[in-house]
């Protein structure tokens, strides 16, 4: 059992470090956008991603023919670790490079790959993911945004998406839309590329408990998209979406510490207070939540080992988010209990405390994750479903009726 690099990994790590030494003076800070300076933030982070792409550190796992390095997920992890250690941010378009680009590589046409991948890699065009809807989150296949086929073969989009990160500065979005309501719900969806500046596309920021607008709502009102914007087959969008979600799972290798939920960070907040540091209740709570966070760190190494051996972490990896959120909530509560109401004034701990209730549902609610793990890992049966074999249009009618009674 060891945490050391193989000789090849050590060599790659040295390469990353050497590049960072030469370039990190150009790197922007780690902090998010300051109020009133959002555009400036995006501009400098785009420039930094471009510099990374030119150095070969964006799209590390993408095939070389699309501008990537053709390396493995472990090399991607090494890049992440070294950038974190150097205190510099990584790429801006994590969703595009990590999930949407690979989806286009897997399912897109040659023309789409030629047109979109290089500008994505260089942050000339940032992307957003248009999957979730106000009425379709856990049950993603219940989306209602419609893409209607026009006589000339083009499509018109109508509907609403939500929780869309980066939509306000994205050039393109990958959108899952319903193209056939007369078949069961998984069978009637298609995936499209939509220009975010198209007529009929409206983007509104969505403020969260923190006061920040990290997400957006996106409205489509007869937005026109050309025939060649479809990714994958007509009515075959669910398979394409599953590819995107698979790449999301692969990105888990980065671990919970990328959120900044680390035992040493929370211990430091307590250590400044000599009375708290000696208080038995405080110590007990800190000891337990720190145990959870350290468990996550070492679980991360187990997942990396799986990846290094050519596999994927098992589905139980999804439980890492449950533990991370639970431990971070406990840490926020503990630190605020120690500091008192002042901890709720604007700042690090107030932000942490306000951010976590939403994170609990992000990327799959805890209930959905537990169902998924229970069924896939423990082999437990699914609950009986009422939507099996029912065409989508009838299903919606049944739901409306149910809500009325």
């Amino acid at each position: 059992m060891d945490l050391n690099d193989t000789p090849e990994q050590a060599e790659y790590r040295t390469k990353v470090r050497t590049w960072l030494d030469a370039h990190k003076a150009n790197a922007p800070g780690l902090e998010g956008p300051q109020p009133g300076h959002e555009e400036e933030f995006v501009t400098v982070r785009r420039a930094w991603q471009r510099e990374m792409a030119e150095g070969g550190f964006a799209g590390v796992t993408w095939p070389a023919e699309f501008g990537g390095q053709g390396l493995g997920p472990l090399d991607q992890v090494i890049v992440g670790q070294e950038f974190q250690a150097a205190g510099v941010p990584g790429i801006l378009d994590v969703i595009g490079i990590g999930m949407l680009g690979p989806t286009i590589i897997a399912h897109g046409t040659d023309e789409q790959k030629q047109r979109y991948l290089a500008p994505m890699l260089h942050a000339d065009e940032v992307w957003c993911q248009l999957f979730s809807e106000p009425a379709a989150g856990s049950d993603l296949a219940g989306i209602q945004t419609r893409a209607a086929l026009q006589e000339d073969g083009s499509w018109k989009l109508t509907g609403q998406k939500v929780w869309t990160t980066n939509a306000h500065f994205a050039s393109y979005g990958l959108i899952l839309a319903r193209t056939n309501s007369e078949v069961t719900k998984h069978k009637g969806m298609s995936m499209f590329i939509v220009p975010m500046d198209a007529e009929g596309v409206e983007i509104r920021p969505l403020r969260q408990i923190t006061g920040e607008a990290e997400f957006n709502e996106v409205f489509f009102d007869d937005a026109h998209i050309p025939a060649d914007a479809i990714v994958g087959p007509v009515d075959g969008g669910w398979m394409v979406a599953l590819t995107t979600l698979l790449f999301e799972r692969l990105a888990i290798g980065g671990g919970s510490e990328s959120f900044g939920y680390r035992a040493d960070r929370f211990a430091k907040a307590i250590a400044d207070d000599p009375v708290a540091s000696a208080d038995s209740d405080v110590r007990h709570r800190l000891g337990k939540l720190a145990t959870d966070l350290l468990a996550l760190r070492y679980t991360g190494y187990r997942h990396l080992t799986d990846i290094e051996r050519g596999g994927l972490p098992g589905s139980e990896a999804a439980l890492g988010k449950v533990t991370a959120v639970k431990a971070a909530i406990e840490a926020g509560d503990l630190i605020a209990d120690v500091i008192g109401p002042e901890a709720l004034a604007e700042g690090e701990w107030s932000y942490l405390i306000s951010f976590l209730p939403g994170l609990k549902s992000a990327g799959g609610t805890e209930e959905i994750l537990r169902n998924m793990v229970g069924e896939r890992v423990l082999g437990l049966p699914t609950e009986p479903r009422l939507d099996k074999g029912v065409p989508f249009s009838e299903l919606k009618a049944l739901e409306r009726e149910g809500a009325k009674s």
């Binding site: 211990a267 009375v275 540091s277 110590r283 720190a290 209930e367 082999g379």
Partner: protein, 373 residues
């Protein structure tokens, strides 16, 4: 990066599972509640497999394996609720020396550590678990080569030939190897809630022994190894509890469907899995630290104790509730795992003291100056 068990470690695990599968130790755990003589004697199993000398170098007649290997064996014992006296014996072999060490390694003699908790960032004293209450008792005293004091709730002392006591002389802890049969030693067996653990209070009255060369760090290491072993036993018991719970959730039907299909049941079983996998990662942390990062072993072993303890507390209760009323009957096996959980969490300082030490280690690393007293 290789954060998984080696092929050798997997073989060790399988061999242990085979060896322990020969006796119905779970059944014996129930019978022994009413008649302690029903406990199978597994010492020969341990000796034949080389577990008695697992942590002893080959030069001293052992097999020279590391803490992770010991944890893997302990986990298999925990899975079967096997009355295997490794928590007392193995840490004792870390401190013993000379001929006695070779006897212990070969399994010709049994050892038991009389565990003493090392000082923390808040308390400079070496202490032992009290007979009852929250105030910890002072570790025995060493004077003129003789040891005097009481140590409570000692695992595996009843059948031990050699006791390794931690005794303090002028503020310095010493490990002292004591023959259990001498006049100055009184071993008082205690009725245990979990009959698979043979517990005793040990009274030393000017007991004579051999003062060993172990340093304070060595003695603290023995404490941490004991923590990691009780944690590993708990992890094994959790694995078994999950397996049995899932099996029943698939067999039992209510309202026309398997109870494992209900979210309330499913989520509870997934919670066992979550706590179990976290504990397993902490076992690897402890195993890795024991081998490659000794400065982190104290932290790692105590996080493992906390994580595995929480997992077993939860799993033992879930095992009962998944089975419904039958799970709370004397005839059922679930209460035996519950008994294991209840006693384990209160031994060797308890999981509470382990959590406190985790906090203390992290606070000290963060530069805390706790206000004492």
């Amino acid at each position: 990066m290789n954060f998984e068990l080696s092929d050798e470690q997997r073989s060790l695990q399988e061999a242990a599972r085979d060896a322990l599968g020969r006796a119905d130790t779970v059944e014996a755990a129930r019978d022994a509640l009413e008649d302690p003589s029903k406990l199978p004697n597994l010492w020969d199993t341990a000796t034949a497999a080389g577990w008695t000398g697992l942590l002893v170098s080959e030069e001293h007649g052992g097999v020279g394996l590391g803490p992770l290997d010991a944890m893997l064996i302990a986990a298999e014992c925990g899975r079967r609720l096997a009355p295997m006296p490794l928590i007392g014996h193995l840490p004792a072999t870390l401190l013993a020396e000379g001929d006695e060490l070779e006897q212990l390694a070969a399994g010709d003699k049994r050892g038991a550590l009389l565990p003493a908790m090392p000082p923390t960032d808040l308390d400079d004293a070496w202490t032992v678990d009290p007979q009852s209450g929250l105030r910890r008792s002072p570790a025995p005293a060493l004077s003129g080569g003789k040891v005097t004091g009481r140590v409570h709730w000692v695992p595996d002392a009843t059948d031990a030939d050699y006791l390794v006591a931690i005794a303090v002389e002028n503020g310095t802890p010493k490990a002292v190897l004591i023959e259990a049969s001498q006049a100055g030693v009184k071993i008082e067996p205690v009725i245990a809630y979990d009959a698979t653990r043979q517990m005793a209070h040990v009274e030393l009255d000017a007991a004579e022994g051999k003062v060993l060369g172990a340093s304070a760090d060595d003695i603290a290491l023995a404490w941490s190894v004991a923590q990691s072993l009780i944690a590993a036993e708990s992890l094994g018991a959790v694995e078994e509890a999950l397996e049995r719970s899932v099996k029943y959730a698939l067999e039992r039907y209510t309202f026309g469907r398997q109870i494992g299909s209900y979210q309330a049941v499913k989520h509870s079983l997934v919670e066992i899995l979550r706590l179990m996998e976290n504990a397993r990662s902490l076992m690897y942390f402890a195993g890795w630290a024991g081998e490659s990062a000794p400065e982190q072993f104290t932290l790692a072993a105590h996080t493992f104790r906390v994580g595995a303890g929480e997992a077993l507390d939860y799993a033992a209760r879930a095992l009962i509730s998944v089975h419904g009323g039958i799970g709370a009957t004397w005839e059922h096996d679930a209460p035996l795992f519950f008994r294991r959980a209840q006693l384990s969490r209160r031994l060797l300082g308890g999981t509470g003291a382990a959590a406190d030490r985790v906090a203390g280690e992290l606070l000290a690393a963060a530069g805390a100056t706790p206000a004492k007293g």
